[in-house]
């Protein structure tokens, strides 16, 4: 991922909007999503309208997802579930060394009965730990694994740098050719900020460390390639982007892109790591080409950890200068992001707060011999939130200010009202008014202590014009909505159906959503919370056009003009005289045998951008053991029109659980001497389980705007609020995640020594 440093912090668009245009904030998809930009779009408000919310039956209500029954019965077909005639199973071999060359002896593997093909995956140069170097296809996965074990890999190992410390050391082994430590920011003059810091009434500083996190999707990366010779192939991919697959797959199969169909019926999690075909998909295509048989290649769990991306870790050294009133007047920082062989998501420091301060931030990237980081839900923001929210609380304690007051003072004017309203609501939900430690941590000697912490998030969540949607109405009254888009579990399939059903006056089960196929209308990849704001306006437009086309047919039956009609539940009637009506079935009977097909495109005025949310956490710390228990998390979020209250709530809570997991448990561990990934499994790489889920309350604000994506915002503040709550509970600031009991104990000991 060659990505430029983030410029997401531009609070305002670059210039006023041209007549008939408006600005929205959009995440731009560049091989995974990393950059939010302002985009000028049409502000034409003609055409379809969402209409008054109180009149909605389905959209903005809580609707059980339409594919729920398939998911609870095991009928839902994930890409890894595809079983095809003659299908073979493939596995990949990872490089044992982080850096070096490898020579492969494949004959013994090929000789195993049941092994059908063995291929080398690269030219023998390895520059990151776990890089897939060979692939085996066999009649069963067990035999494919025998094949892997029979491959003789002779390594010529070279010195490596798998940790940032190793990579930044003098005479460190080189990672790539760009230098191990690269400064990405251009500005080198900090004198203005140094001056402001020197004059500040108070200075607060710290160095926050952020571990590398893994997406840990339960369905691993991979594909099933259905190629049996000839000039057509179908690729069942576990992907966030149906349309990111055919081009790459065609290349690997020696076909043209239009000869390859990508199918994504269901997929088991991506979180930013699943765009494009990838090494594993490429290997599967090559094996399919070789064998002219369907190939099933899903990464095993250990390889998934090694070679399927991660959220960039890093280190933030921040110093803030405050005036007497607690306002930050200067921020100086050094942000180091880890990208492996890639560049890492930018960590947007300063995050939200401190807009009026003088700011100097050095943005650096450190490369290691590990796989490239990829976008992960809210790329860069959870990292930036961790240090900035910590810094805010330290500023509060240094100034003796209430944790909410410090935020009020330092929020930018344009966002103060929004975030203070949300923070105060969170405070009310979590019992802040009864909490005794509002402007100083609890340093008492009690054993079980409870603290509260706050944090906020922002995200663009605007849409773009990539989606083309078709609505088909058949003569028998049945309705389909078609789009190539994919449903990651976000409820895409459900709102496709509910928007159409609402527009046509039908029940949800009367509309059949058909998605996840590249032969349907184009759609953007699902990253950066861009799917809902891109797709839903296009669906609405297609449904609107279908309704108008149907009105043309029905108007003569009722002896009125088409624009005198409206839909009621299961009928079309004259708006001025509802008793003058045609039942849905009879209306559709007027269509020819070909039925009716209506197209939809993006309608900028039905989407909006820019979401904000606040969260708070209540944490109990046992000062005898250091044990941290998150008792409660609350969230208040805005997000424009909620397409489905139920699935949006699930996404918000899901984000909070992921953030809790990030904060308390997750960390990739690589042995610096051996160059071994020590916890590439779910026993040693822990993610939050059912026992760790706190009491959760989420609220959505009434928000009159159009549809905005919010899934990223959900995951940004939780771990920061928890870290702040620990500090509030017992005085210990843990600067490095994960936030663990041993660090609490070390911190308590340090406090005791200080007296």
């Amino acid at each position: 991922m060659a990505l430029e440093p983030l410029r997401t912090q531009d609070e305002k668009p670059p210039r006023p909007a041209a007549p008939g245009k408006k600005w929205i904030r959009v995440t731009k998809a560049v091989n995974g999503i990393d950059t939010e930009v302002w985009e000028e779009v049409s502000d034409d408000t003609g055409g379809p309208q969402w209409g008054p919310r109180e009149q909605m039956r389905l959209v903005s209500r809580a609707v059980p997802r339409v594919d729920g029954p398939d998911k609870v019965t095991g009928r839902a077909m994930y890409s890894s579930d595809m079983r095809l005639p003659g299908m073979v199973f493939a596995r990949v071999l990872r490089s044992r060394v982080p850096c070096g060359t490898v020579q492969l002896e494949l004959e013994a593997a090929k000789a195993i009965p049941g092994v059908l093909a063995v291929i080398a995956l690269n030219n023998g140069n390895v520059d990151w730990l776990g890089r897939p170097i060979a692939a085996v296809a066999a009649t069963t996965p067990e035999i494919a694994e025998d094949g892997l074990r029979a491959i003789v890999a002779q390594y010529e190992e070279q010195p490596f740098a798998v940790t940032p410390e190793q990579a930044a050391a003098e005479n460190a082994p080189k990672v790539g050719s760009r230098g191990n430590v690269r400064t990405l920011s251009k500005n080198t003059d900090s004198s203005e900020v140094d001056d402001a810091l020197a004059k500040a009434a108070k200075r607060v500083q710290g160095t926050w460390k952020i571990p590398v996190q893994h997406h840990a999707c339960l369905e691993s990366h991979g594909v099933v390639v259905d190629y049996r010779g000839g000039d057509e192939a179908t690729v069942y991919a576990s992907t966030q982007g149906t349309f990111t697959i055919p081009g790459d797959a065609a290349g690997a199969l020696g076909l043209k892109p239009n000869q390859v169909t990508a199918v994504v019926e269901h997929m088991g999690g991506g979180f930013g790591s699943k765009f494009q075909l990838g090494i594993e998909g490429d290997a599967a295509c090559r094996l399919a080409k070789l064998l002219a048989r369907p190939v099933h290649l899903m990464l095993d769990r250990a390889t998934e950890f090694h070679a399927a991306g991660n959220r960039s870790g890093g280190e933030h050294t921040l110093e803030a200068g405050l005036d007497e009133k607690g306002q930050i007047v200067a921020i100086k920082g050094r942000v180091t992001r880890l990208g492996g062989v890639g560049q890492g998501s930018g960590h947007p420091i300063p995050y939200i707060y401190g807009r009026d301060a003088k700011v100097f931030v050095e943005d650096r990237c450190i490369h290691t011999h590990t796989d490239s980081s990829r976008a992960m839900r809210g790329p860069g923001h959870p990292q930036a939130s961790f240090s900035m929210e910590g810094l805010m609380d330290e500023c509060a304690y240094a100034s003796g200010l209430d944790l909410l007051e410090i935020r009020r003072i330092n929020l930018p004017d344009s966002r103060r009202e929004l975030y203070m309203r949300q923070l105060e609501r969170c405070a009310a939900l979590i019992g802040w008014d009864k909490h005794a430690f509002k402007n100083a941590p609890d340093l008492s000697k009690s054993e079980l202590k409870v603290g509260i912490g706050f944090a906020i998030a922002r995200w663009g969540g605007g849409g773009n014009g990539q989606c083309k949607v078709e609505v088909r109405v058949a003569q028998d009254g049945s309705v389909e909505v078609l789009s190539g888009t994919q449903d990651l579990g976000t409820g895409t399939r459900t709102y496709c159906a509910s928007i159409v059903a609402e527009e046509l006056g039908l029940e949800l089960n009367q509309v059949r959503p058909r998605i996840g196929r590249s032969t349907f209308g184009s759609a953007n990849a699902s990253g950066g919370s861009t799917t809902a704001p891109s797709l839903s306006p296009s669906v609405k437009h297609a449904a609107h056009n279908a309704r108008l086309a149907l009105f043309e047919k029905v108007a003569p039956l009722l002896g009125v003009k088409p624009d005198e009609l409206e839909v009621g539940l299961g009928e079309i009637h004259v708006a001025a005289k509802p008793s003058q009506k045609v039942a849905w079935k009879d209306a559709c009977a007027t269509l020819g045998p070909a039925g009716l097909s209506a197209q939809g495109e993006w309608q900028a005025h039905l989407a909006s951008s820019d979401v904000g949310g606040a969260q708070a956490a209540k944490v109990q710390v046992d000062t005898r053991t250091g044990e941290i228990k998150v008792l409660e998390m609350v969230a208040v979020q805005n997000c424009g029109l909620l397409l489905n209250r139920m699935s949006v709530k699930s996404q918000l809570q899901g984000g909070m659980v992921q953030a809790l997991s990030y904060g308390l448990f997750e960390e990739r561990v690589i042995d610096p001497d051996l160059g071994l990934f020590l916890n590439a499994n779910f026993e040693d790489y822990k993610i939050a389980g059912v026992r760790e889920i706190p009491r959760m309350t989420v609220e959505f604000e009434d928000d009159p705007r159009g549809v905005i994506g919010m899934a990223e915002a959900a995951v940004i503040p939780g771990h920061s609020a928890i870290a702040n709550a620990i500090r509030n509970a017992c005085g210990v600031r843990i600067f490095d995640m994960p936030l663990t009991a041993d660090k609490v104990l070390v911190g308590l000991e340090a406090l005791r020594k200080k007296g």
């Binding site: 059980p64 997802r65 594919d67 729920g68 029954p69 998911k71 609870v72 019965t73 095991g74 009928r75 994930y78 890894s80 079983r83 199973f89 990949v92 071999l93 490089s95 195993i112 009965p113 049941g114 069963t140 996965p141 067990e142 035999i143 494919a144 025998d146 892997l148 074990r149 999707c217 339960l218 369905e219 691993s220 997929m267 088991g268 999690g269 095993d300 769990r301 250990a302 390889t303 990651l488 579990g489 976000t490 139920m646 699935s647 709530k649 809570q653 899901g654 984000g655 909070m656 659980v657 992921q658 997991s661 071994l676 499994n681 779910f682 026993e683 939050a688 389980g689 059912v690 889920i693």
Partner: protein, 224 residues
């Protein structure tokens, strides 16, 4: 499994959660040592050879065996290598393939592969298919064979107990077994029942709601 970069595991692996107490002392990993085409050159573990040569016949550690599995109330003959896990037998050897049971970690740490063995939840990735001969296996497909949802499945739908849904079959199987034992199970008991199940989408709060709602509905119906 294809952890080719690290040495074979030395420590013994955890047993399935329950349900196989009556079986010979045979763990999947121990069996692997003696099974597998490549590894067959090695020494067959003594514990394996003595007890299980008798149980499964002497010539079955290489190549394939035909066994009759009892899955979702129907007997089915499958031909597989003795090392094949129940999970892979379901997904890759049964006809039609039973892919509702998911493979996630393949080593007993996520619960996605949970099935019932004689009514008790087990990890099918930690159970050898041949070990289930003579026992009743029930998979997610067997809960609602005619398509109508069980009470728990209904409640999962009503409470949005799935996002991506990849963990869902495992949770449904684990909680079904819990509610079959005790429809009045408390939240604590429900959490205990699915404490071996991971959900990356963070759907646990809705899963708890669904489970408790199902418990209430089952009690109202008299526990059935």
């Amino acid at each position: 499994m294809s952890d080719a970069a690290s040495p074979p595991e030395a420590k013994s692996s955890p047993e399935p959660r329950s349900g196989s107490q009556a079986k010979p002392a045979l763990t999947r990993r121990a069996f692997f040592k003696g099974a597998g085409v490549v590894a067959a050159g090695g020494v067959i573990g003594e514990a394996v050879s003595a007890a299980n040569a008798r149980a499964y016949g002497p010539a079955t550690l290489e190549g394939t065996v035909e066994v009759e599995l009892d899955i979702n109330g129907a007997k089915q003959k499958v031909t597989l290598e003795p090392r094949t896990t129940l999970l892979n037998a379901l997904r890759n050897h049964c006809n039609p393939p039973l892919t509702g049971t998911k493979l996630v970690c393949d080593r007993g740490s996520c619960g996605a592969c949970t099935v019932h063995l004689d009514g008790r939840p087990v990890y099918s990735c930690m159970t050898l298919a041949v070990d289930t001969v003579g026992h009743k296996v029930k998979t997610i497909e067997g809960l609602s064979p005619r398509g109508e949802l069980t009470v728990l499945q209904q409640k999962f739908c009503e409470h949005d107990g799935s996002q991506c849904g990849f963990c869902t079959p495992g949770f449904v199987m684990a909680i079904t077994a819990c509610l079959e034992r005790n429809p009045a199970a408390s939240l604590d008991e429900i959490q205990n029942a699915c404490s071996g199940n991971l959900c990356r989408c963070g759907t646990q709060p809705q899963i708890f709601e669904a489970a408790l709602a199902a418990g209430r509905a089952l009690q109202a119906k008299g526990g059935k």
